[in-house]
Symmetry: D2
């Protein structure tokens, strides 16, 4: 099987998420990283290329140079897809440029700085016929796919409650003004967008809640806070959710929950039972039932449907984690590009548009005295 | 040490909470149950008295008869205190009658049907000089006392986040119209009050959040739902909380979280760390810190302050549970009546007033388009 | 229902296990403690009686005085049963004296100092027609009863593996020579018997393993250690077990597992699945299956058989613990004395004889070069 | 950084462990798989090569062909190292041939069929000056390295207890005679060696216990069982261990613990505290202390020493699992070959020799009436 060729924008040495994308793409042997524009700092850019064993001629000073040169290469040499791992404000222009140039795009979230920008990406993807993937990594866990399928087939009956939370503590101190690069741009409205914690992790929580519940949030009532003095964007989000069909939800995301690591947890309850999944122990999905004992589903264990089982590499009890979940997205993305694997899902344009609408609705509501703000819906593939 | 004498109103055979009060009162040898008006059904009343080994002359047909006869007994024979375990609408008239007659009162929660009624109880307690205890049972767990003390002494720095949830599933089906006695009165506005789930368990969550955080809720934004068709009171509560000093909170309580048992959990985060306690595994309190490993405090284990250690009966690793927590309240109540144990706390008038204000604010807010509704504060002992 | 009358030997103020017996007897209202010989120290004896609210005339200086006086009282006044909570070397003479005098006996474990002594108690119990209960407390947990019933009805198929462990850390330091009363007698061969950790907690592990598996240990291969310098009895036990029918087992008990609290855990596996129960979280029993997801059984939850459900006082999610488990033994003991509750079990003569045979076999084996030492069996009720 | 070139013997399509080796080698970008002799079935061999995107000229029919051809290639083209993932009986001849030909070797465990064979590999490694790595994968977890370092620096004081267990259930049925390839050779003495469960997973348990405790097992007392009728090798191991310096241990490994997945767990206790680590939740290491609260160490979290932190790829709370642990071994192996990373450890000759001695001692002891059998020690690098 020929490997697909990947380029990357952003992700210079020391950047967290770029390295994760590279490991995720490498894990299953579907991708070779062959080109990049890793940093606007020439030295750092070159060092990253060397460290990754890239041919120096394909380490570019800018995305413009990368696109210009790569599209000029023979079809069996140039990159198939481009991964975008830059600060948020660059997502939309870069994604559109890459799609327009005929490359598939794997983009970090949030999709863009606004719904308008996200719609422009959606239009570019549609016009180009290229694939657009969004790094809603947690979608890639096998037990999230199991959870989604269980809800969809009605195991729990009609859904009544959705609780999703995402607790981190790493912004508990003003590290954003103390030289931490990650923290700095994430709390700068010009680069991060309107939402701080909201855009960075609130979007993950929202996307997962809609994905697994199969329901759409109709309206939100939200409270945003910036607990650390001088912080320009929210570091703490609380929201009540109303879903189509009457389900009620609570979303809590915080980056000042001191001592928490990466505490994403989703609980959904329906008429007959519910499910509970936590990202930090991702290989267990607890199902609770009204009239019989709770069950523990395990990655690779008995009782999973085929779609979830296919996302696992090792036998039950050999834990798979975050990188494996991420690799499942790259694998599905590759399969889609190859025209295979129609049953493998990856998050894309629709997830991106929904989360942008969520961000805008939360910000509008949090700044008002109105109880509820509607999300405009109507997004479809 | 002479035992105190206890009477009980309500709690006929088969009633859940009356039996728990009796076990809690018996556990530490502080109380003898000597009188009761257990049921308005004469046969059930008599059977309960016999089952409990009571002298038949002290099994009364009504609280009026009980009060009239007991106050006429010699001081060293009559009851010292009366436990009220009736449906909610009877709490206020009964408590006031008992206090006025000179008896101490241990009352089930919620305190009353309204803030106005609660204030009348408060006035009666003050006028009589008698003790009034409220069965906010979860306050009695040793690790809740530890948590409270840790927050109070500033271990976590200023508090930023409070998350409290109380998930049950037992009302997932319309059992309230299918003959379940417990369910029936709890969902009847005439007997339960304005709140269903809100009054029954939302109040526990609220009381615990204020107790441990040491903060007062200033305003709420809430969503109430009745998910089961035909239900007349809420069975599901979601609320955003704003606390004095800027902390933000989320309260979630539900009785239609199918498959959940009695899932009360409290998490509080401050500048430097946070705490996590869950009622179903009550002997563990997790402390997480920004810069050092999490710690597990255990009932009876090392690292507890004296006040928490004193609430434990057995060495670490011998689990104590719900009845023991309840017994801690009866023990503190007894100590207060005897004029001892000034360091032992039990919930009372102030907790009751606060929770009634919470109920009224949530109901007012949930029915309006306003984002926030203030709780009137100013309650003090 | 008339309460039964209980006397107690040992358990003076400050003693751990005496207080636990009193709480366990009080919890369900079956027993009134009316007499005692709590300490050979007259002052301590009197203070304990006063503290417990006993009539001073029934606080006796010795078990001899207690027996002589109580048997002389009218039948509806004298004690029905005697609880023995003294150091081990006194169990046999006291139990035999009480049985011979016509009192039922509830005795602490281990039953005696030797198999020979235990057989003498057994003979006395048989001759007297009185009940003899042994404080194998952990038998009283509802989920242990559920586990036992599940194995017995063949849910797991033929049993292959039994793993039982009991880890404590409180003897990690030489506190036995530093003034700790509990530690002191427990490590003194003259008062504790041949086994230290073996007799104190190894017996609990052994009894639970046989009870739940329904199998008998045929032979043991054991290693005993005294890790703390100067300690005269073992503080650490390791044993391989062979059961009738071919199941293999491992028993590990230690009192020098520094940092452990009261870590009793039992795991049993058969052809089709297995069970896992840990005393420190006693309200959960995990069942794992070869071909389907694991199940979580919960105290008071769905899926329990009636015998286990009957051992619970509160709805699921209201944790019951060690004292409640103990109270289940007192309740079953009372039921047996009253001639009721034939379905309620409590540990007695057979459990005591088996554990004494286990102690003797382990000690014999640990001191020899032979691989296996047989337990003489043949004990039956 | 130039990537190292890897060859592989065994691991044809469908084989579990070969695929894992490939993912582990790919994850961090240190290795390119360029050659292989994946199967003695020509078609399967070729298909595997194609699937992996290998140049067909480097897919060889046998290890002999691979070695002959690769050593003839230019130094900057031929493989640097060879991974051996065949049934056990081929490990020694293949490893020796590869070492003799000048290739570094990464071999599956157990090292060989006997101590004698293992010593021959050790001699070949020494003579060739090449690196020999053994796939004791669990050594690669960051928290195992943390645990090892904590014991080594004396955090717990002198070690007293070592408990290690490895429970699987997949051989609960006679699948070895029902066509399961994995099961078939693993239970065939001619291909698996003298030990079944003992060699397959008992060795992992033993290696981990010695690695982390820093102690050597002096003697064992063991019980082996074959619970499934007709099985020719043990499927269940129980052993008592005595360590140098007086520590006592228990090792339990089973492949008929029905319902268990891959339950490797290690607990070690010393004078002042102990540690607890379980492979199925590998990102948590619990430290318990005699006099202070237990601590939870987390992969990537605060409190780890540099050596453990360096084995982590993502921030705390982004779980890393089995493949990442495995990749840590490949990374350390690469660093050693490059002459870098002297602080990175990987298991090799010494671990292999020790585990072979353990296998032989257990088998000798289990078949005898002697209580203890010594392991010959004296192995050193």
């Amino acid at each position: 099987m020929t490997r697909l060729r990947l380029g990357m924008v952003g992700g210079g040495e020391g950047a967290f998420i770029g390295a994760v994308h590279r490991m995720a793409a490498a894990l299953d042997g579907d991708w070779d990283l062959v080109a990049g524009a890793f940093s606007t700092d020439d030295g750092r850019n070159a060092r990253t290329g060397t460290l990754l064993g890239l041919d120096g001629s394909r380490v570019y000073p800018s995305i413009e140079a990368l696109i210009a040169r790569e599209r000029a290469l023979p079809a069996d040499d140039r990159i198939d897809a481009l991964t975008i791992v830059t600060p948020n404000h660059l997502h939309a222009p870069m994604a559109i440029a890459a799609l327009d140039a005929g490359f598939h795009v794997f983009c970090e979230k949030p999709m863009a700085m606004s719904v308008v920008e996200a719609e422009a990406i959606a239009a570019a993807a549609k016009a180009s016929g290229r694939r657009f993937a969004l790094a809603f990594t947690y979608s890639g866990y096998p037990l999230i796919e199991e959870a989604r399928a269980r809800v969809a087939r009605g195991d729990f009956g009609a859904i009544r409650l959705v609780q999703v939370e995402y607790l981190q503590g790493w912004l508990s101190r003003p590290i954003d003004v103390d030289g931490n690069r990650q923290a700095e741009w994430r709390t700068d409205p010009a680069r991060a967008g309107l939402g701080g914690c909201l855009g960075d992790i609130g979007t993950h929580a929202f996307q997962l809640a809609e994905l697994v519940s199969g329901l759409s949030v109709e309206s939100v009532s939200a409270d945003l806070a910036a607990h650390v003095e001088g912080r320009r964007l929210d570091d703490d989000v609380s929201a009540l959710l109303r879903f189509t069909g009457g389900a009620r939800g609570v979303l809590k995301a915080s980056q000042v929950a001191a001592g928490e690591e990466n505490g994403l947890r989703l609980r959904i309850h329906g008429e007959r039972g519910g499910l509970d999944w936590a990202q930090m122990e991702p290989n267990m999905l607890t199902l609770r039932w009204l009239d019989r004992p709770a069950e523990l589903l395990r990655t690779g264990g008995p009782g999973l449907h085929d779609g979830a089982a296919a996302l696992t590499r090792t036998p039950a009890g050999h834990p798979e984690g975050y990188i494996e979940a991420f690799a499942n997205l790259y694998r599905a993305f590759a399969a889609a590009i190859r025209g295979e694997g129609h049953d493998r899902r990856f998050p894309g344009v629709v997830d991106g548009l929904r989360t942008m609408r969520f961000i805008e609705a939360v910000i509008a509501n949090a700044g008002s005295d109105r109880k509820w703000t509607a999300l405009d819906s109507g997004d479809s593939e």
